[in-house]
């Protein structure tokens, strides 16, 4: 199971890198979304995907899934959500002010910074 997840995460990272190297700002932001998705899945996978009950004590199970990575992922999700929201608004503002979505055209010149 971990092997499968590793391949999947690798694909997510590959797509994220590809998208982040493109010219359109929105594709870059989609790339950051995929990147953080891959990072969160990796955090879950690296802690082990062994069988066990959900981490609720009421389940009275013999073994539970490791609760720490779940808490870490929850934290990381909220943080990347905040950053992505900020980034999207920034891209919107930049589109209004600079009038372009193309990273290459966002170079300043002496007269127009």
């Amino acid at each position: 199971m971990e092997i499968l997840m590793a391949i999947l995460i690798g694909l997510l990272f590959a797509s994220a890198v590809y998208l982040m190297l493109s010219k359109s700002l929105l594709r870059i932001i989609i790339g950051t979304g995929l990147l953080s998705h891959g990072a969160h899945l990796l955090l879950l996978t690296m802690a082990g995907l062994k069988r066990g009950s959900v981490p609720l004590l009421g389940e009275q199970a013999e073994s539970y899934a490791d609760p720490i990575p779940q808490a870490l992922i929850l934290t990381a999700i909220v943080i990347s959500f905040g950053v992505t929201a900020f980034f999207l608004v920034l891209a919107y503002r930049a589109y209004q002010e600079l009038g372009t979505d193309n990273i290459d055209e966002m170079r300043g010149s002496k007269n127009n910074d």
Binding site: L35, S36, L90
Partner: protein
């Protein structure tokens, strides 16, 4: 007072929360943020005294014993850095009163500066690797807002690049923590160190060490990873630039220092050698760029990169001289870079130009500004009685002691280029024909100079009384050299 070490984090946090309610009342905002920064400074000085008396201070949050809860650890190194960061923030806030402008002050500027300080102080104090990530994000989120506040075109453009780089490096940080957790199964830094010592750092941990170097190198701008810094730091106004230049990269350097002395000290052949090579390249490229530009902001920005290289070189040497030199230099550099950015901000306000060839004879109109700038440049280059000397001396000596003569000579030569890069500004801009510039009564130079001169005086005292300061820095180095002291303080067993 076992909660003393959390106060440098909690005071700015509460202040920021309170400041959110007074967005449009600028006078109240200024008073509250000044008072709270002074309180934080007093608390952190008291913390240094307490650590000097009683050794490392630890606090298990929520009374959960060490490896299970989040532990805050304040050793001498973190306490010194927290104090310096607070001091620099105080200087920058006082400078902002007369330079940042109503437009920005009305939009939560002071609250965000406090949040930035929360992140920086938290990252210096934490004893938990994931908690460090969270404090990094607090700091970075505040820095995104500070970078873009005001919303000019150049700020929008540079923020996009800055955020993209930092989102990537944060994802890499999460990935690295995931890898490390899968091997050692813990997040507490002292416990991680203990577990790594048990398995004696196999190959996979060296890979993780390099990943950490990439993550913190992106935050701290070492050689192949500093490409984002010159553009991003160029965009915001002077006090924000001073905050960034003094604090943000130094947190990355502190994290390299912490992880490389606490976690990955078993197999130093590869990792520390790599760090040394990258540091030398950072110093060389930074120096070349610093003398290539005619733009004062660019010159100071590339001087940040030179200083980062010098500090990481000291870390890479991993002996007592190198580490205490690095601690000395990082504190000196935080103060003096803030001073330089503040002074360059004043010069640009007076002359309206970033190019130092466009004006001459400034010293005839502004002698105090000129001489402060002169002293700051000498201190940056490391002229003996001033603050940059002892750190660079120790770092160069550690390079010679380990037999890396080339590296040590590069460090020494870089001083010359750093001195040249900024002395050009002094010679061209301040000396020469007095008619090349004029007095601008509308710029409140006197008030802007107060925080810059205050920080310069601190830097001078730091150099002159380095004997007394060394008493504290040797305690910081002792913990860095013997991770057992740190582990014992946190986990409370031998």
């Amino acid at each position: 007072m076992i909660n003393l070490l959390i106060l440098p984090i909690i005071i700015p946090l509460l202040t920021a929360a309170i400041l959110l309610f007074f967005a449009k009342k600028i006078a109240i905002q200024r008073w509250i943020s000044t008072i709270s920064l002074m309180a934080t400074l007093v608390v952190s000085l008291f913390l240094i005294h307490k650590i000097d008396q009683n050794g490392i201070q630890t606090l298990d949050i929520g009374s959960w014993p060490a490896p299970f809860g989040i532990t805050l650890v304040s050793d001498m190194l973190s306490a010194l850095l927290v104090t310096t960061a607070t001091l620099v923030a105080l200087g920058c806030v006082l400078y902002s009163f007369y330079s940042i402008g109503k437009g920005r002050e009305n939009y939560y500027y002071y609250a965000i500066v406090q949040f930035l300080l929360v992140g920086v102080n938290g990252a210096f104090t934490t004893g938990d690797i994931f908690n460090m990530f969270v404090f990094f994000e607090v700091m970075l989120m505040a820095s995104y807002v500070l970078l873009v506040i005001g919303g000019t075109k150049i700020q929008l453009r540079e923020s996009i690049k800055y955020i993209l780089v930092n989102v990537t490096s944060s994802a890499l940080f999460v990935i690295t923590v995931g890898y490390l957790y899968s091997i050692v199964g813990t997040l507490n830094m002292a416990h991680i160190s203990e577990r790594i010592a048990e398995v004696n750092q196999p190959g996979i941990l060296t890979v993780i060490a390099i990943l950490f170097l990439i993550v913190f190198g992106l935050k701290g701008a070492i050689f192949p990873l500093f490409f984002w810094l010159p553009g991003s730091y160029y965009a915001p106004p002077a006090p924000i630039m001073a905050l960034f230049g003094a604090l943000l990269t130094k947190v990355g350097v502190y994290s390299i220092l912490r992880t490389y002395t606490l976690f990955f000290y078993h197999d130093t052949g590869f990792t520390h050698q790599l760090l040394a090579v990258l540091s030398i390249l950072t110093v060389i490229l930074g120096s070349i760029a610093a003398i290539a530009f005619k733009d004062m902001k660019k010159i100071v920005i590339y001087n940040i990169i030179v200083a980062i290289g010098v500090i990481t070189y000291g870390i890479a040497m991993m002996n007592a001289d190198g580490l205490s030199g690095a601690v000395f230099y990082v504190i000196h550099d935080m103060i003096i870079k803030a001073v330089l950015f503040l002074l360059v901000g004043i010069i640009i306000k007076i002359t309206g130009s970033v190019d130092y060839r466009k004006f001459t004879g400034l010293i005839n109109h502004y002698p105090l500004l000129g001489w402060t700038f002169f002293i700051a440049v000498l201190a940056l280059a490391g002229i003996p009685p001033l603050s940059g000397f002892v750190g660079k001396l120790l770092i160069a000596r550690s390079g010679f002691a380990t037999g890396d003569v080339f590296g040590a000579i590069v460090i020494l030569l870089s001083s010359l280029l750093v001195l040249y890069s900024l002395m050009r500004v002094f010679l061209n801009g301040f000396w020469g024909d007095p008619s090349g510039s004029s007095k601008k009564p509308e710029v409140a130079v006197g008030k802007l100079l107060v925080p810059a001169i205050g920080l310069t005086i601190v830097a001078i005292c730091f150099g002159i009384f380095s004997e007394g300061v060394y008493h504290y820095i040797s305690q910081a180095t002792e913990v860095l050299m013997n991770p057992d002291i740190y582990i014992q303080a946190v986990l409370g067993k031998s």
